[in-house]
């Protein structure tokens, strides 16, 4: 009796194993249902493709003032680091020893001449007094007068010489003034360097642009004129701008081991007031923008090798449909081709899903409105109620 039972048990187990094999093997003929927990309808929305990267604020422009050896040696630098300067603010004063020596010499000459002229004026006065005190028509008087005239001539000569020296002095002072280099831009002194390989003074313009970096895989997506949003980390502030320039050379020297990164510049529409230069920011560049396109949740797209699919619920069956993907933004994926707006799709496809499977969906408990019920025909109502009833048979 016991053995008989054991045989029956073995037969039952074998039968069930066979059943399971028939049911679940890869080419099983048994139609199966699939439980679709969540379904969604494609949306018609605007979508944009963005590139996220980082960057920092830099001055729009930098002016470099170099040492000019033709002007001589530097006497003094007239600005300090960080100083704000305007157009015309003196920056550097050069020194030319020859001019200085000449000015000095002329000054000494002038002094000499002055003394001489003063002396002559005194002499003239003396001669005039002497001549006036002398008798009329005397030889003495004539001599004094002669002397006075001579002194007068000499004085005029010296005065002419004096004028010449003054002109020379003026010229030299002007020349000396030319040795002061003035700024022709407004800005901030960013750096003063005495290193010969660097500019002497670097003047940063007061307005800022954002310099970003982008990896070589994405550089192709960027183009001049694309809009970009600059976000200051940890602050809600953001600035709009456009890409003004994309670098042709990598930031660091290119190497075979590392991937290159390229610089690009974002021109801001509005100047950020509080941001100092060199402040790190996040940049979002809108590389593509499309309006009124069909999008689905990105999770709903099923990828197989290079192809993309969505599972459409069509007449209660799964339809594995090949679609052409457009751009992706966040959790949204544009479907360029293959999907209409009013079709239901499976939100979370799984491995189990196969084309042609029957779909079952969970009950959504919500209180129906009267109008909803009125819109349904009586037959609809009865039919589905009876359907439920007869599903209890098996």
């Amino acid at each position: 009796m016991k053995r008989w039972k054991r045989y029956i048990f073995i037969v039952i187990v074998l039968c069930i194993c066979a059943n399971f094999y028939i049911l679940f093997h890869a080419q099983s003929k048994i139609p199966k249902s699939v439980y679709v927990n969540e379904r969604a309808k494609p949306e018609k929305t605007n979508i944009k493709e963005t590139v996220h990267t980082t960057g920092m604020t830099v001055p729009t422009e930098r002016k470099f003032i170099y040492y000019n050896p033709q002007l001589g040696a530097i006497d003094e630098i007239l600005v300090t680091k960080g100083q704000e300067i305007q157009v015309g603010t003196p920056l550097i004063r050069y020194v030319d020893e020859e001019i200085d020596r000449e000015i000095h010499r002329i000054a000494r000459k002038k002094e000499q001449l002055n003394a001489q002229i003063e002396q002559l004026s005194k002499d003239i006065d003396d001669y005039t007094t002497m001549s006036s005190s002398a008798k009329e028509d005397s030889i003495e008087k004539m001599q004094w007068e002669e002397k006075a005239r001579e002194a007068e001539r000499e004085k005029t000569l010296l005065e002419w010489q004096m004028k010449e020296y003054e002109e020379q002095q003026h010229e030299l002072t002007e020349k000396k003034d030319e040795l002061i280099v003035e700024s022709n831009t407004a800005g901030v002194v960013e750096e003063i360097s005495y290193n010969k390989s660097k500019p002497l003074i670097t003047i940063a313009s007061p307005s800022a642009v954002v310099r970003g970096k982008v990896k070589e895989e994405t550089i192709g997506k960027l183009a001049v004129g694309q809009t970009a949003t600059v976000n200051v980390p940890n602050e809600h502030e953001s600035f709009a701008g456009t890409i003004a320039d994309i670098g042709k050379f990598p930031i660091k020297e290119a190497s075979f081991q590392e991937k290159s990164e390229y610089p690009f510049t974002v021109q801001l529409n509005e100047q950020p007031k509080q941001l100092p230069f060199g402040y790190h920011v996040n940049i979002t560049v809108v590389t593509k923008e499309k309006n009124g396109v069909i999008t689905v949740p990105a999770e709903a797209v099923w990828h197989e090798k290079t192809k993309a699919f969505v599972y459409v619920i069509h007449n209660g069956k799964l339809e594995k449909r090949n679609v052409i993907l457009g751009i992706k933004h966040g959790k949204k994926q544009e479907i360029e081709q293959g999907l209409r707006q009013n079709e239901y799709i499976v939100s979370h496809p799984t491995k189990q899903m196969k084309h042609g499977m029957d779909v079952i969906v969970p009950l959504e408990v919500e209180k129906p409105r009267k109008e909803t019920i009125k819109q349904l025909s009586k037959w609809d109502i009865v039919k589905h109620f009876l359907d439920g009833f007869f599903r209890s048979f098996y």
């Binding site: 039968c15 969906v361 129906p368 009833f389």
Partner: protein, 219 residues
């Protein structure tokens, strides 16, 4: 002597239980156990409907209705299913009891009592099947515990599939319990009782197959 209805004991130790039933003068708890089983059946039906099991036909019309309408129809389906979950076992309980009552001269309450373990077995079958339906998409018709899975390999007729589906591990179990019970109560030959029980089961099987294939397609 009094016998307390206990389907669990009856399916595990049928011989002892039914000898006790035969000897008993009164049977207690029949209605309570029957109601309990019916209630569990209704709950299971609602649970199945909640997860949409068996709503393949309804999903075909998903595109035709608005979301709200569809939800309402789902609700109707669930109510229908719950009602079916109540009525089908009840019908089975009474119809089979009446048939046996007409054929054998046994107390009707005792006949009802021996149908209760059968209900429990069918309930167990539903319970076992439930995870397969939910997680592996197995349909009612193709229960791995039944011959239903052979259907599509043998014929194209869905009615035959439904008939094959009625031959399952659980139905064999139920039939054997039925035979043991009736033999213990009537003391007639096994062959005769087996024939009658199988015939009655076949009747129900045809009924169930007809019910399952209720012609909705095309509407």
């Amino acid at each position: 002597m009094m016998y307390k209805s206990n389907p669990l004991k009856e399916i595990l130790h049928p011989k002892i239980a039914f000898i006790q039933l035969r000897e008993a003068e009164r049977v207690k708890n029949v209605i309570l156990v029957a109601l309990l089983l019916l209630l569990m059946n209704v709950i299971l039906s609602l649970l199945r409907a909640y997860f949409g099991i068996g709503t393949e036909e309804l999903t075909k019309h998903l595109d035709r209705y608005t979301g709200e309408q569809f939800a309402f129809l789902q609700l109707l389906f669930a109510f229908g299913h719950a009602l079916g979950g109540l009525c089908v076992p009840l019908l089975f309980l009474f119809i089979s009891s009446i048939i046996y009552y007409l054929l054998f001269d046994i107390d009707f309450v005792k006949l009802l009592t021996i149908q209760l373990p059968i209900l429990l077995i069918f309930l167990l079958e539903d319970l076992f099947l439930f995870p397969f339906q939910l997680f592996f998409g197995v349909k009612d018709l193709f229960s791995p515990f039944s011959l239903g899975v052979w259907g599509p390999y043998i014929t194209k007729h869905a009615f035959i599939w439904a008939l094959l589906r009625t031959v399952s591990l659980f139905s064999i179990w139920a039939i054997s319990i039925q035979i043991i019970a009736l033999r213990s109560l009537t003391e007639k030959s096994v062959q005769r009782i087996a024939m009658i029980v199988i015939a009655v089961y076949l009747f129900f099987a045809l009924l169930a197959a007809a019910g399952t294939e209720f012609p909705f397609n095309g509407f």
